[in-house]
């Protein structure tokens, strides 16, 4: 599925959405969501390959993969928050979109907290050794 097919799908979805916007705005939103879902499904396929390759590289470098796993989780949370935020913004609900993105940021903070803690401990040890 090369890029031109995906662009074609996006344009077709946009055209249907515009057609429907005048008579049934809610269906226009559904068409936009359907197009988004299809494009994201294809993107996920490609993303899966990228992650497996990067995972392999990280394993070669011998770095502890715990940090890499958290990084992937953070990307996933931001990915979901962004999808739903844009859907809400497309439906005209800017406030809800902002709320969802705030929740996403909070979850990312939650995920990153252990790493920040270990990082600070390393710094403190380094300083105490001076």
């Amino acid at each position: 599925m090369n890029i031109f097919q995906l662009v074609g799908i996006a344009v077709v979805g946009a055209v249907f959405s515009v057609i429907l916007r005048r008579y049934r705005p809610e269906f226009a939103m559904f068409t936009a969501m359907a197009t988004g879902i299809i494009l994201l499904t294809y993107m996920l396929g490609a993303l899966d390959k990228v992650f497996s390759m990067v995972d392999e590289m990280v394993r070669n470098t011998g770095v502890d993969s715990k940090y890499f796993v958290v990084l992937i989780k953070i990307i996933g949370v931001s990915y979901i928050a962004e999808i739903s935020g844009e859907i809400c913004r497309d439906a005209g609900e800017g406030a809800i979109a902002a709320k969802i993105e705030m929740v996403g940021k909070m979850f990312i903070m939650l995920l990153a907290m252990p790493i920040i803690k270990t990082f600070l401990e390393v710094c403190i040890d380094a300083i105490s050794m001076l």
Binding site: Y23, F27, T31, A34, I72, Y79
Partner: protein, 64 residues
């Protein structure tokens, strides 16, 4: 469910829009409203299933 998801949703939307106009013009506002609501429910069910599938895929890839 690939590209035909768009055509299915858009088709239902167009049909409901046409039916709505038809019923509204012929004086049956209630039926028009009921048709719109029925179409809305059908599309909502399809879209919610698709979003569920997408989120399952995201969950598996990002191992959330």
């Amino acid at each position: 469910m690939e590209v035909d998801l768009i055509f299915r949703v858009a088709g239902i939307g167009i049909i409901v829009a046409v039916l709505n106009q038809l019923l509204a013009r012929s004086g049956r506002e209630e039926q028009a409203l009921l048709t719109t609501i029925a179409g809305l429910i059908v599309v909502l069910v399809i879209i919610v299933q698709q979003i569920g599938e997408l989120f399952e895929m995201v969950k598996s890839i990002f191992n959330l």
